[in-house]
């Protein structure tokens, strides 16, 4: 039971990181980046190349991965979102474009890295440590701590800084934000870069759990969207809560049914959550003033 709870929190943290990044982009552009799971996969691939294959020290490798993936996310913006202009709500072009980009990323990964999943060392070694009588892998603790730190960091950035103010303003209206002398495009680019950095970190954190391969995030990516929706799209606290909730429920359900049903259970949870509270647990159905 405790073991299930613990592994649920670990996977839940990963879903939360995905949901957080999906939300940042959603809130300023109104689009859902369907290539996000694949960007996380690329993060894992780059980390593998830098840290395992090239033997670059972990921290430096982490920074390099973050920079590289942030650049990939910015390129993704220019290729799949920018061509459709500011008024993304009016077209669904971005939907096909981001889905397509995801497929392109997977195929590039297959070509360059091969289809064979590769191992990635867990952070802090593979020796179990004992906390409150429960045996834990240090890596799991790192996942929880890093996720919590990132979520807190975002809460502060979005709630307390001028950048956060400008991001919130951009979610309301690009043109009114421009009238303040703020380049809404720069804000959107910043958000894409931030989503790339979170994706890189998420990629490094799941690699030891899933192994590194082109398909590693195929279902995890979908669960990230699920977590974002459960929490209320566009809400970063909700993303965090939604991710953890999904991870924990999924793990608890696993104690009752055979592992083959894992993904089915996760999607069932998502469907139930969405039908009970379509606007998400933290979502508010805004009324527009006329």
């Amino acid at each position: 039971m405790f073991q299930a709870l613990e592994s649920g929190m670990v996977m839940g943290s990963i879903y939360a990181l995905l949901a957080l990044a999906i939300n940042i982009i959603y809130s300023t552009t109104g689009i859902i980046n369907f290539a996000h799971g694949e960007i996380v996969m690329l993060g894992a691939m780059f980390a593998l190349t830098f840290i395992v294959t090239s033997g670059i020290p972990f921290l430096l490798g982490l920074i390099l991965t973050c920079i590289t993936v942030a650049i990939v996310a910015v390129i993704l913006y220019y290729c799949t979102v920018r061509p459709f202009g500011d008024k993304l709500g009016n077209s669904l072009g971005w939907l096909m474009a981001t889905l397509g980009a995801g497929i392109v990323f997977t195929n590039i990964a297959m070509l360059v890295f091969g289809t064979q999943p590769k191992a990635f060392p867990p952070i802090g070694g593979s020796e179990l440590v004992k906390i409150f009588g429960i045996k834990l892998l240090p890596h799991d603790i790192w996942v929880l701590v890093i996720t919590l730190l990132i979520a807190l960091f975002f809460n502060v950035v979005l709630g307390k800084t001028i950048l956060g103010n400008a991001i919130k303003a951009t979610s309301f209206s690009h043109s009114v934000t421009k009238l303040m002398g703020i380049s809404s495009q720069k804000i959107v680019l910043t958000c894409f870069a931030m989503s790339g950095i979170i994706a890189a970190i998420a990629g490094i954190l799941i690699s030891p759990i899933t192994f590194v391969g082109p398909q590693m995030t195929a279902t995890i990516g979908l669960k990230g969207f699920g977590a974002a929706i459960i929490g209320g799209v566009g809400n970063s606290k909700g993303a965090f809560a939604g991710g953890l909730l999904l991870g924990i429920l999924e793990a608890l359900a696993m104690t009752q049914v055979t592992p083959g049903y894992k993904d089915a259970i996760a999607f069932l949870i998502m469907i139930i959550a969405i039908s009970i509270k379509p606007e998400g647990i933290f979502g508010v159905a805004y009324e527009k003033k006329v």
């Binding site: 103010n165 919130k168 303003a169 703020i182 380049s183």
Partner: protein
């Protein structure tokens, strides 16, 4: 200060603004009046750079800004209070003012001075500084929208129908404020359907009819033009 020369503006293939020219001189209050759908908002958006003209030039202090991005035009000293107020509904009153002062954020004393000035001009904003703007009344939102635009120290302030949807008492209030801002040295370009009130505080006026300037002159001339009296001043709404 602002000189608009023969601009044409289209949405897709539909040309809405046809060969429009007008100017605003330093220190003036200039009003553009016109019926619904005449193209007033389209002109304002074009001057602020949110829309680009297909032809013509827009000179602001001698510099052609027809191709300059909106966020750079604000830097030159041209701010707009957009149609429908458009305050940031999820930000507090204070945060709205902070965003309005984004360009002067590094100059802390100036920023503080501007905030104080706006609180003096609109005391209700000080009272409501921590309230979320979406929950303000329409009149309070309009004051906030004007104050937000004034935070960047504009030389020229554009106001798009500041009186729309407001109770008469608020309308009077808003026009008094506009006059005050003008007396304090801000040049003003105003778009209004409340032609009566607007012409009273204006120096000069233009009449816009289906995307063309039909008439231009001093406020007094326009006020006494028989056609204007008939179409825009005839039936007093209150």
């Amino acid at each position: 200060m602002l000189k608009v020369n023969n601009i044409h503006v289209s949405y897709g293939k539909v040309e809405i603004i046809k060969q429009v020219s007008f100017e605003v001189n330093q220190g003036e209050v200039v009003v553009i009046i016109g019926a619904n759908g005449a193209g007033k908002t389209t002109i304002m958006k074009t001057v602020t750079g949110l829309l680009k003209p297909t032809q013509g030039e827009i000179l602001f202090e001698g510099q052609n800004i027809a191709r300059t991005p909106a966020e750079k035009i604000v830097k030159l000293g041209l701010a707009m209070c957009p149609e429908g107020r458009q305050v940031f509904p999820q930000h507090t009153v204070y945060e709205n003012l902070v965003l309005g002062g984004y360009l002067i954020r590094k100059d802390k004393p100036m920023f503080q001075k501007n905030i104080e000035q706006m609180y003096n001009l609109f005391p209700i904003l000080k009272e409501r500084s921590k309230q979320v703007a979406g929950t303000l009344s329409g009149g309070e939102q309009q004051m906030l929208a004007i104050a937000r635009a004034m935070m960047s120290n504009p030389k020229l302030l554009l106001l798009d129908e500041p009186s729309a949807g407001l109770a008469p008492i608020y309308v009077k209030n808003i026009f008094d404020m506009i006059q005050k801002l003008s007396e304090q040295g801000t040049t003003i370009l105003l778009v209004e359907q409340m032609a009566n009130m607007a012409l009273k505080i204006a120096d000069r006026a233009y009449v816009l009819e289906t995307g063309r300037i039909a008439l231009g002159g001093t406020a007094v001339e326009i006020m006494n033009d028989p056609k204007v009296v008939e179409s825009y001043l005839g039936s007093k709404k209150y």
